[in-house]
Symmetry: C2
Subunit: 152 residues, 2 copies
């Protein structure tokens, strides 16, 4: 079950709710540009070097993959009111992201904790998984997000 409701507040959320993002195509040129700026390692920069590496082919930086997942949830994958403000979480990259991969994110609400000290907000734990076009999980993020109550 996928829900696509605009501007959800804390009161609108419940454990087990699911959300699905749109898709994003990972391109070789952008993989190399991102890596040159933020993660300049041979297996993210050059096909030949990547072939000889543990990745056995060009792979996106894990932080590029993470940034793409954020883009997917921000642009429709998780319609929380006031945006997505993350406090932190757990992250994993079970498989590399490759040029040409068509990616999407599926998110599920796993915990909702109303704040005692700040009654106008709560912390919502969301487990997001990014899949490639073969249905393989390439990225997992379980994040704690600050979500406001509906203004009175």
């Amino acid at each position: 079950m996928t829900e696509q409701i605009e501007q959800m507040y804390l009161e609108d959320l419940r454990v087990g709710q699911n959300f699905t993002s749109g898709t994003y195509v990972m391109e070789a040129a952008r993989i190399k540009e991102f890596a040159a700026e933020f993660d300049p390692q041979p297996f993210h920069l050059d096909e030949r070097a990547a072939q000889a590496s543990i990745f056995k082919g060009l792979a996106a930086s894990g932080w590029h993959t993470a940034a793409v997942a954020m883009r997917l949830v921000v642009t429709g994958g998780l319609p929380f009111a006031n945006g997505l403000v993350g406090l932190g979480g757990e992250i994993a990259w079970p498989r590399p992201t490759r040029p040409g991969d068509i990616l999407h994110v599926e998110s599920e609400i796993v915990e909702i904790t109303p704040s005692r000290s700040k009654p106008h907000q709560g912390i919502v734990t969301v487990r997001s998984t990014m899949f490639n076009q073969n249905g393989e999980a390439v990225y997992l993020l379980t994040a704690k997000l600050l979500v406001p109550r509906r203004p009175k």
Copy 2:
């Protein structure tokens, strides 16, 4: 105690070792560009909107902050042989990163687990903290990295 040795293998590492990166200056223009591509939320894109937000001023996307930390450790902050290949970890953003912030990363090895099934490598847990120019922690990452043994 900070060590800056090139190309360290699993045998060269021990729990408690520390490493310090160079510095990176976060610029307002790059904060907005990164956000436009990967995290298009008003508080990362526009000073006026950011003033009215929970951040009370322009703040970098947490994923931009994470990417900058990766750049700092890859370019001298953590000289592991064969590069930095992360399996996953825990992440937190205790404080926003702002335009003009001068950032650096301090890393400490907290656990070393030789692989039983793959004797040529091990998993090293590294706790990295990125500080701003005021000594405030803006980003924490405890990551599990794949590190090879020295080739025989």
